[in-house]
Structure formats: structure tokens, C-alpha cells
């Protein structure tokens, strides 16, 4: 990642870019957004592009083409984007001067995704922009549509020749960002990846997981590999177990149909939690180039054996929220949510125990816990250390030391250890040493989409998932969902909104002589 800061093609050829403090600027290019009238485009992509433009991270002749079914003119499309910027940009409202400049670089093509004629118009427009704006044949395609539209778009990009540089031997590039979910299970993920591979080479493909764009997730690597004090302890010899929690107080928020199809295990575990787990457990890469980092991450996933049915019984708990109270407000149960089957058996909570079977982690349980309508929004990874080998202070109960990587909301790192309570008696009490990013670096406004779009424009795929990572994560998740298919569905709903999940989740860890952290 860090190396990529200084090794873009633009910087190599423009000597004025050397040693520039303002960070990386990509080469002139066009970004084509499929699904340009959708929620993701309006809430995330366009505000991110506007912020990048206003902060001079984009090249002067950067252009955006929206591609969607709705019959809009350029002007209508631009108007709707201005509204999105005014509503969702962290630099809102749009600056009058920038409005003119930014929106003039945005274009719209109205077409069905199946219609080859739409892709011809896209090719014509791209050709014209190359001529007029000097965008040099560089394109970034962004799939912000319903996942069911991905194959047809990819096939049409291939058929129209847009997936490959236009001139043989030119340095022009063509890349594609694919939003999650990448498939619904291993088979469909492999199928989609195969469709992509028929048109794009793997180094052109950027599978986005916005969790990886978060500063604190990236900082896991810095914390582990830029400091020599933690890594020697980061193994089975000193770590008793690891707990990963991704909790949300929100329910499905109108996404009932999507959630009915995915459930928590597909929505959170297959992507975000597997990515976190691989960053926490990976071996040091030989350098910070994209494939070196991703090679190590995928090794972790390969070291997790798929669960058989007995494992699924012993090592997983699923739950679904019922009605309850959160922050003083009564909330509905999952089955009462809009567009959700009143008899739904979809999981909204999952707890899983996994083992990374390699030299470093053999025998160390990794407990994952994620769910909706839990008491608060929180993402953290806690490494609990083993007890001291000899009880020197038998008269006092010593809590284990814990190192916690807090991802959100209060991103930082904290260490809990025992200290003597001042006084005549030998009493030991746990104390916490906290580091908060906000306290040492201030509140730096960063947005995961800004970071990741910029990385894709620069061709840095370190923070994107590779095909083998995605498929390996599906292999693990598939083994669990297959096991569930053979088992009786629990008596849903089995936890009250505003609690930390079903009682079985507590039993499940307590039978190992451990307990969930109180968050």
C-alpha cells in the first residue's frame, strides 16, 4: 500500500510530482458507473468522487459516465447528483464554482444492460472523451447494480471490446470494481468469477469490501508489522483465544428482501469478518505489494478447515431477533419487518468458533459473533492472553490480559492488564491502557469509498479481495450453511432486540470455560 503511494505511472513521467505532499493523483481516465441512478451511486460513489475532486486527488480531465435504464438526460442526471452531494458529501453543500466544473465532466447513457446498442454508445462517448479530454483510453468500470445484472454487463463489456485497451501496445488500462455480494454461495461465486475471468484478467478486477477501506482495518497491519513488541506474542504460545465482534443496533432497515436472501452469515461473515480474521491471523508478507499481502491472507483462510455437520452443531449458533427495546425505543422483531416472511428462518445473529490450523495458531479458538439489533454498534477484535504460568498471587483473582483492536465506533487499541491496588493488601485489579486515533491524530475525515476508488484508479489492489480469497471464504461459509440445512432450524425468534444474542451463544463459549467480552 505504502509503496503504491509513489509508484504510479503519472508520477514516474511527470517530474513535478516527485516528492509532492498532496497524495497520489491517478492518470486521466473515465469512470463508468453501471447502476448510476441507484442508492449506492448517490449515497457513496458520487459524494466520494466529489470529495476526491475537490481535494485535488483526481486528474484535471477525469470524467464520469453514468449508465442506467432510466431515461435521463445529462442535465437531469447531473441535477440529481448535485442533490446527492448536498445530502451525503462530507464537504456539503457543493461549492458553486465546483458545481459547474464537476458536473460538466459527468455524462449519462440511458440503456438496458442487455442492449448492445447501449454499449456501442458508451464506446463512442469514451472515444470522444479520449479525443477531447485526453483520457487516453483509461477506463474504470464500477458495477453498482443489482448483482443479478453483473454477468450481462461483464459479457457486454467483453463483446464490445471495452474491457481491453483500444490500441495494441498502448499503456491504457481498463479495470472493473465489483461490489459485494460476490455470489450467494461457493458455486455462484465461482460462476461469477468465471464470467469475470472470461473478459477481464485478475489484475483488472477489484472486488470491493468497504471494510478494508477503513483506516483502522488497515492499521491492523501497521500495528502488527511496524512494531516489534506485539508480533512475538501473536501466536498460540501466548494467546488463549481471539474474539471478533461485529454488532449493529440497527435492524434490516427496509432491506428485507435482500436480507431474507443473505442472512447475517452471508452479509457479514463471508466478507467483512473473514477479511478481518485474515488480517489478524496472517503471517508477515514479504512486502506490501498487493499480491504479497493477499497471498498471506488467503493462506489463513485455507488453514481453516470447513466444518462438518457435527462441527456445525458444536461450533455455531444462529439467532433471529424478536421485538425488544433499543436505546429506550421499542423495536419490531425481524419477522414483523417490512417485506420479510412472517415465518422467516433467516439468521440475524451468528456465533461461530473457528480454528486456523497452522503453526502459529493451532489450537487457538477464534470466536466470531455478529448480529443485528444487538445493544450497540461495535466492531472489535480482542486477543485474550493466557494466564501467567505460575500463580504468584493465589489469594487474588487475576483477570486475563486482553489486547483489543477497536475498529468502530471509537477506533483505537487498548490493553487490559492487572495492576496492584494501592494499599496494604495485595489486591490486583484490571486496568486499561487506551490509545484512540482521535486523540492522537484528531478527527481526520476519511471515507472508505474515497480511499478504495482512488486505489482502483491508481491500480493498487492491496485493499481488494482476490478471487481465491473470496472463494475460500465461501468454502468455509458454505460448510456452515450446508450443515444448517441438515439440522432443525432453532425456534426463531430466539433473542430479544437489544440483547447480546441468544442464550445458546453464551452457553456455547462458556462450555469452553470462556465468556464473551462485555462490550
Amino acid at each position: 500500500m505504502t509503496q503504491a503511494l509513489t509508484t504510479t505511472a503519472t508520477h514516474a513521467i511527470n517530474p513535478l510530482r516527485e516528492g509532492m505532499r498532496t497524495e497520489r493523483t491517478p492518470e486521466p481516465c473515465v469512470m463508468v458507473i453501471f447502476g448510476a441512478t441507484g442508492d449506492l451511486t448517490h449515497r457513496k460513489l458520487i459524494p466520494a468522487l466529489y470529495n476526491l475532486a475537490i481535494e485535488r486527488h483526481l486528474p484535471a480531465n477525469f470524467n464520469v459516465i453514468g449508465f442506467a435504464r432510466r431515461p435521463l438526460t445529462d442535465e437531469q442526471f447531473r441535477g440529481s447528483l448535485v442533490e446527492s452531494i448536498n445530502q451525503f458529501s462530507r464537504r456539503r453543500p457543493i461549492m458553486p464554482e465546483a458545481k459547474e466544473q464537476f458536473t460538466q465532466t459527468i455524462h449519462f447513457i440511458s440503456s438496458d444492460f442487455q442492449n448492445p446498442e447501449g454499449y456501442q454508445r458508451l464506446a463512442d462517448l469514451l472515444g470522444r472523451l479520449d479525443q477531447e479530454q485526453g483520457t487516453q483510453g483509461n477506463r474504470l468500470f464500477y458495477l453498482a447494480t443489482n448483482p443479478s445484472d453483473y454477468p450481462v454487463i461483464i459479457e457486454n463489456l467483453g463483446a464490445s471490446g471495452l474491457a481491453r485497451p483500444q490500441k495494441a501496445g498502448s499503456s491504457a488500462w481498463s479495470r472493473i470494481i465489483v461490489e459485494k455480494p460476490i455470489g450467494h454461495d461457493l458455486n455462484s461465486a465461482q460462476e461469477l468469477n468465471e464470467t469475470i475471468a472470461q473478459v477481464f484478467r485478475e489484475n483488472q478486477v477489484f472486488r470491493i469490501d468497504h471494510y478494508l477501506g477503513k483506516e483502522t482495518v488497515q492499521n491492523i497491519l501497521v500495528f502488527r508489522f511496524a512494531n516489534s513488541i506485539f508480533e512475538p506474542l501473536w501466536n498460540r504460545r501466548y494467546i488463549d483465544h481471539i474474539q471478533m465482534t461485529v454488532s449493529e443496533e440497527l435492524g434490516v432497515e427496509g432491506r428485507g428482501p435482500y436480507y431474507e436472501h443473505s442472512g447475517t452469515i452471508r452479509d457479514m461473515v463471508q466478507n467483512h469478518m473473514m477479511q478481518l480474521l485474515s488480517l489478524v491471523c496472517m503471517e508477515p508478507p514479504i512486502n506490501f505489494e498487493a499480491n504479497s499481502v493477499r497471498d498471506e491472507k488467503v493462506k489463513v483462510l485455507r488453514a481453516i478447515a470447513p466444518l462438518d455437520t457435527d462441527d456445525v452443531v458444536q461450533r455455531t449458533v444462529r439467532g433471529q431477533y424478536g421485538a425488544g427495546v433499543i436505546f429506550g425505543k421499542p423495536v419490531k422483531g425481524y419477522r414483523e419487518e417490512e417485506r420479510v416472511d412472517p415465518n422467516s428462518v433467516t439468521d440475524t445473529f451468528v456465533a461461530i468458533k473457528l480454528f486456523v490450523e497452522n503453526w502459529r495458531w493451532a489450537g487457538v479458538p477464534i470466536y466470531l459473533r455478529t448480529g443485528k439489533r444487538l445493544p450497540k454498534r461495535m466492531t472489535e477484535v480482542a486477543l485474550q492472553f493466557k494466564a501467567a504460568p505460575h500463580r504468584l498471587f493465589p489469594q487474588t483473582n487475576i483477570e486475563p490480559s486482553v489486547l483489543t483492536l477497536q475498529i468502530q465506533p471509537n477506533d483505537g487499541i487498548s490493553m487490559r492488564f492487572g495492576a496492584k491496588v494501592p494499599g496494604q493488601a495485595m489486591q490486583i485489579r484490571p486496568v486499561t491502557m487506551d490509545f484512540r486515533f482521535g486523540q492522537s491524530f484528531g478527527n481526520v475525515a476519511t471515507d472508505a469509498y474515497e480511499r478504495l476508488i482512488l486505489d482502483a484508479l491508481l491500480g493498487d489492489s492491496t485493499l481488494f479481495a482476490r478471487r481465491d480469497e473470496v472463494e475460500q471464504a465461501w468454502t468455509i461459509v458454505n460448510s456452515i450453511t450446508n450443515g444448517w440445512n441438515y439440522l432443525m432450524t432453532p425456534n426463531f425468534p430466539n433473542y430479544e432486540s437489544g440483547t447480546w444474542g441468544p442464550k445458546e451463544a453464551d452457553d456455547f463459549i462458556e462450555k469452553d470455560g470462556r465468556r464473551w467480552r462485555r462490550l
Binding site: N14, L16, R21, R436
Partner: protein
């Protein structure tokens, strides 16, 4: 607790600290006078007592944070106030122990006095209040010569020391030398220099003499960051890149004083120093100054390159600031010539850029070029870990432009 700590109230006699005065330090940022030998003890007492200022156990504790030692020299009460305001804002991003020296050598009194105060911020409404301390030391009369001795014992161990020096390097030489010896980083603002090229030369020599172990920064270079970025954008387009190597003429407009006061070219000189460093231009003839205008001839690979500086009188508050830049370049073999123009917009937030090729406008865009005060500039400087070799290279060139010519 702190009930019997020897802390004096601001401007009053020795008193004892109590919860009210602690509240004033933490909540209101008030400064409290303290005996010199008790400064460290007073600060320790202050942080031990922060817990007392909480309204209830449920309220998050106050957090003391410190990532660097920041030493600032001032000469007047007004400068002290400016420094204090800057520190209060810098603590958002760079919590530090700040030591502010107020030197008044001409004061009839001969005394050294000290105050401690706290700057507290709440980074997150639900989070802890983050506080850091400011120690202010005032030296009057001969006391001014001795205040530098207060700095070394007050530095927080093992944290880098940044010296923010606001004057020409020749002034208060003793004090500067003492402080510079303890510093890992020196930050100056050449816009405030009375003799920029002389001070540039001293700065370049200083960097050389420490073998670049002390990082040197100039806030005027920081002001150039967005200009350099916007200029670079012209040449990101490969079709315009060849023009960069065949520049014939450079025109820079800057804010000059209304009257016939000495203009300060330092920002413009650093910009030219940057071009020279990156494009291997060599000084040919020394800078010639005519009122608020000046000219310089550079050797660009054996070809003369004219650089003109034009003074404008638009704004009093940004004297020395660049307002416009024009690069003239030609590619005779291809019958192409171009003018690259970057002009600060009236809103002082943007710059308009324009590329004209063979008399036709081929590209226009506007770049964000916000007017930044010194605290914003300091933020950018502190974000740099280690030195900026590009600046040091540009500085060496800028220091040579005045050679054999008139001093500006």
C-alpha cells in the same frame, strides 16, 4: 490530591490550588502562575486532579495526550496570544506539551515567571476529553537571556521537539542557538523574514551543518503545496509534458506592500527554487529588484530562461503571497507553443487554470487553493514525519538566487 500544591493564581501572589482553580485550568483554559521549580509538579498535580472535574463516574475521564514537544518563541503579548490560539487548535490533531517563551529583553524588570494552562478538546461527543498542557515562560530584562535554560528540563522525554521560530535567523542568536540544539525540527516562516535570501542562506547552511539531522520546514513552502499540486496537474497530461522541459519564460505575480516598503519575494523564490531543483535549472544572473518588481535569469540547459516577479497591491493581509503564475513554453520542432496560467480566484479558495496552445484555449479547470492561516500550515508541517528533502533542495537554489545581487 493537589490541595497543597504551590500554584499561584494568574497575576496574583502564591496561593494553593483548589478544585475551582483546577476547573478553570481544565474547563476554561485559564493560565495559572506557578513557581519555576514547581512547574513539573504542578502539571502532575493538574492531571491527577482532572478526575475531580468529572461531574459523575459515568462521565468519561479526561485523557492527557502528547505526541510531541512544541517550543514557540514570542516577543510580545500579542504574539503570545496568537501562539496560544494556534496551540489550542493544533491540539486537535497534535496533542503536545507546548512551551511558549515570551522574551522581553528591554523590559525594566528582571524576572522569569511561568504559567501553566491546559487545552482540552472533545474529539468525539461521546468520548473522553483530550487535554494537553501549555507552559508559558516570560523572561524580562536579563531574565530573557536565561529562559532558554528552562526548556531542556521541561521537555517530555523521548518525544520529538519542534521549534517554531517566527523571526529572521539572525535575531536573538543566543536564544535561537540554545533552542536549536534541543530541536529535532525547526519550523520558520520566511514570509516574516526581513532579509529572505540571507535567511535562506543561513537556513541552507544550518541544514548542511547538522547533516540534515534536524528537519527544517518553512511555512512559506507549505503555502506552496496546493500551487505545486495544481502546476503539476498541467503536465500530468502526457501531451503537455514535453513543454515542461522547454520553458522560455515564467511570470509570477505576488502581493507587494502598498508603499515602498521592502517587498518579500520569498514564496516566489521558493517556487522557482522548486522548478530549479526538479528540472535542473541553474542560477545564471542574480535577482535584480526594481521596486516591487524583480527579474532573474536562469540557465536552462544552456538556454536563458527569464523569470519575472510582478508586485500587486490587492491585499494587505497576504503580503508576499503568490496570486498568479504564467509559464510560457514552446516546442519549435513541432510548431507548438503554449501558455499555462494559474490565477488565484477572487474567493481566495480556488485557482483558475488555463492551457492555451497556439493561441487556442485547450483546457481550463479550477483547483482548490484555500487561503490558510499559519495554524493550518503548521498542521500540514506536523503531518510530515521527518524532513522534506525536496524543500531542502529548493531552499538551496532559492538561497543562491540572491548571490551577487541585491538583497531582498
Amino acid at each position: 490530591m493537589t490541595d497543597n500544591t504551590n500554584i499561584k493564581m494568574f497575576g496574583s501572589g502564591t496561593g494553593t490550588i483548589n478544585n475551582d482553580s483546577l476547573q478553570q485550568i481544565i474547563e476554561q483554559g485559564q493560565a495559572h502562575n506557578i513557581a519555576l521549580e514547581d512547574i513539573e509538579k504542578g502539571i502532575t498535580a493538574l492531571w491527577q486532579a482532572t478526575d475531580m472535574t468529572r461531574q459523575a463516574d459515568s462521565e468519561p475521564a479526561v485523557m492527557r495526550a502528547c505526541v510531541l514537544n512544541l517550543v514557540i518563541c514570542t516577543e510580545t503579548d500579542e504574539e503570545l496570544e496568537q501562539a496560544t490560539n494556534s496551540i489550542a487548535r493544533l491540539t486537535w490533531t497534535y496533542p503536545s506539551r507546548s512551551i511558549v517563551l515570551l522574551s522581553k529583553p528591554n523590559d525594566p524588570e528582571e524576572e522569569i515567571t511561568a504559567w501553566i494552562s491546559a487545552h482540552c478538546q472533545m474529539p468525539d461527543p461521546k468520548g473522553r476529553k483530550v487535554c494537553c498542557e501549555q507552559i508559558t515562560i516570560e523572561g524580562r530584562g536579563t531574565g530573557a537571556e536565561r529562559i532558554s535554560s528552562m526548556v531542556l528540563p521541561l521537555l517530555v522525554s523521548d518525544l520529538p521537539v519542534t521549534l517554531w521560530w517566527r523571526y529572521d535567523l539572525g535575531s536573538q542568536l543566543n536564544l535561537f542557538q540554545h533552542l536549536f540544539e534541543t530541536a529535532d525540527r525547526l519550523v520558520v516562516d520566511s514570509r516574516l523574514f526581513k532579509k529572505p535570501t540571507t535567511s535562506f542562506k543561513q537556513l541552507a547552511d544550518l541544514a548542511e551543518s547538522t547533516q540534515h539531522k534536524v528537519s527544517i520546514s518553512d511555512l512559506n513552502w507549505t503555502r506552496l503545496t496546493p500551487w505545486r499540486s495544481a502546476i503539476s496537474q498541467f503536465f500530468d497530461n502526457t501531451s503537455f509534458l514535453p513543454y515542461l522541459y522547454t520553458v522560455d519564460k515564467l511570470e509570477i505575480e505576488y502581493e507587494a506592500p502598498y508603499d515602498f516598503e521592502q517587498p518579500n519575494f520569498s514564496e516566489a523564490l521558493l517556487l522557482v527554487g522548486w522548478f530549479a531543483k526538479v528540472l535542473n535549472w541553474k542560477p545564471a544572473f542574480a535577482l535584480k529588484v526594481r521596486g516591487s518588481n524583480a527579474s532573474l535569469i536562469i540557465n536552462r540547459g544552456g538556454q536563458p530562461l527569464n523569470i519575472e516577479f510582478h508586485g500587486h497591491n490587492e491585499r494587505k493581509d497576504e503580503l508576499g503571497g503568490i496570486t498568479s503564475l504564467r509559464i510560457y513554453s514552446s516546442l519549435p520542432n513541432e510548431n507548438r507553443e503554449a501558455v499555462f496560467t494559474l490565477t488565484l480566484a477572487d474567493d481566495l479558495e480556488h485557482a483558475h487554470s488555463k492551457i492555451e496552445e497556439n493561441g487556442q484555449i485547450v483546457s481550463t479547470f479550477s483547483a482548490l487553493l484555500p487561503l490558510r492561516d499559519v495554524t493550518n500550515l503548521m498542521h500540514e508541517e506536523l503531518s510530515m514525519v521527518g524532513g522534506d528533502s525536496l524543500f531542502e533542495g529548493a531552499l538551496v537554489y532559492a538561497s543562491k538566487f540572491g548571490d551577487n545581487g541585491s538583497q531582498v
